[in-house]
Symmetry: D3
Subunit: 147 residues, 6 copies
């Protein structure tokens, strides 16, 4: 299943996978040259989402310690965040909260595309809703930048 | 794989599936009570995306012929569209084009959740980029409304 | 005056009415099957607007205790809020404050339209401006969703 | 009814009034020094809304033939337009259409407030929805600028 | 150099000038009738930008103590702020910070254009980026309103 | 004058320069390693702005013929475009037009900063306003991406 991969597909499948599926997707992705990471962040304060992903990306060495790489990561996170907000920006300020898996994937846009170099994909996937248990539905956001 | 489903996950997996995977996901989803549809739309004119999905949803009887159901579908499409645009609205007006698979899924938010009734999920997944062959990367958008 | 009503018109007239007019509009609206509520919220912190309306709507039983109804109310509030912001989102973060009457109205879009079921309208009407006495002008926002 | 007026209230009441109420509101408003105009514009092409209001405002002499006054009018129209769009800009491009009454009101923010000079209010009120008869609900937008 | 000035050009050149250039630009601008001010604000909290400029504008008497002038200034600041945000609003909430020179310029749009009266221009120019030293690039925003 | 340069400053000064100043700025910038281009585009149709800059950038060899470089240029143009729109996107659709100088600058963020590699800056500077002669004021937008 999902034999044909791409950078965004890897990030999205990984974000939606259960613990048992995760291993499989991670292996397929790594076999095709992708570097992957999966974490979790819950927040009404959107800056926490940015901080969690930046911290993980640096610690896991997805980006080197120069601004041009941090800039690409940042814009990937920003676009993923805009994706989960769906045109109406904000979390706590519009009284909603989110519990989100985030994935970071680095590699070529398509397996084997060496000519166009390395890209970074960030996915946010989870639930957003009212600060009331169970009052939430799924959201996803994906941002992709060359790095 | 992907044993645990939900309305958004069904719509996203279906949108990313190859022809051979599609059958499997469709069967799993239908076994859990979801009604699903998958189509394609390519456009620099964003209204074509809305028209294609609305036409398919009516023809495939995802919504009844009353405004309140069309209204829910419309907002699901609008949010999926905002998701693929990532905060900066537009296609042809900002000189970009998109080739998108769309999926429509109807059912409960989580399998077996009868108490909270029926919802509709719309996913747009594909590639967006410059009007130059191969100059594009993946995008996704997801909108979910009660219907 | 204002013999011909509709759900949005009820919500807007009520929001603009003085104490003496309020009774009259409320009576006309209730006679045509609308359930109405009028409250007030002042804020530089936009989440307070959402919280005040959600609290009132639950206490006054405009929505049942299920997510699909809270979701409709939430999106009606969000659109009313976007209306008062006029495309440039925020209150305290862009150093402005608002004193707002809010109204919640539930019923058919047009009196007697039973076929298309029940909708909820939320209006925010009042003044927005600098945190300086009298430095403000009127704003309005209206959101309508099926519920 | 509506004894206590203000520039925005005049523009909104006038926009919602039937033919018989219109006379009454117009008279009250003019007695308190407001200059008023009411027109109609239907459109999937948003520029038509701007053009109709600008044309009427110039013809009816709400603004003098200098840019600073046209600029104020333009921003009032832009904010009213953002209000009816509720944060998600566009008409035909997101496959929706609008039939809108527009009102233009010129005068002081509050009757008798001579110190703060003359302001212009623009209201758009009507229905927006799918290009299908009856598939629409009410929207309102209000923009106010000194002129 | 820069013999031909205009209100926006004055505000931008002044914002980019070093201490030694500043004198020259200020003199040229004042000789053509412009009133100018240059300040600095650093912030992750966007309201601080608005507060700093409003305080300076009042203290330096760019605006009289009436709302219509404060309103024009406010909208000029808001547009300058939107300019530096480039369509994706926020500072601390999206984990970025800014160190900004601000300039306020009052005068005619073009030197000698007495017919169209007085306008106010606000420029924000500086660097925006991650809260990490040196991880930032230049941004600019310009807002212009009649006052 | 303007002895201390940076990539954004070069792009902005060049965009504001008269024919006689242009030579001077171009020389200073080139002496510090910047590659520069200046063009003009007038439009009510925003896609024309994107097309003009992309065409010039390719012809003048600011970017190589691979997507990752075109992607960086595109986002720089998009941010410059958002800057001139100041949060309210659109030209002809909101009945306004723009006459814009555009500049493209490639080089390091600061002269001599070899460690952080090459960046591209795009500036749009000119006038935006009503489609009436002289009814316009200055606007600026700046976008910067690593390339």
């Amino acid at each position: 299943m999902f034999e044909s991969l791409s950078i965004g597909k890897v990030a999205m499948l990984l974000s939606m996978s259960s613990d048992s599926d995760e291993e499989l997707i991670r292996n397929k992705a790594e076999a095709q040259g992708y570097k992957v990471f999966k974490g979790f962040v819950g927040a009404m304060d959107s800056s926490k989402i940015f901080a969690s992903i930046e911290t993980a990306a640096k610690r896991e060495k997805f980006i080197k310690n120069i601004y041009r790489e941090e800039h690409s990561l940042y814009h990937a996170v920003l676009e993923a965040y805009e994706g989960v907000c769906r045109g109406q920006i904000g979390l706590g300020n519009v009284l909603r909260t989110a519990g989100l898996v985030f994935t970071i994937v680095k590699g070529s846009r398509l397996p084997g595309d060496v000519k166009d170099g390395s890209w970074i994909a960030v996915v946010l996937y989870g639930n957003m809703g009212a600060p009331v248990k169970g009052y939430e539905h799924e959201v996803i956001g994906l941002g992709i930048y060359p790095v």
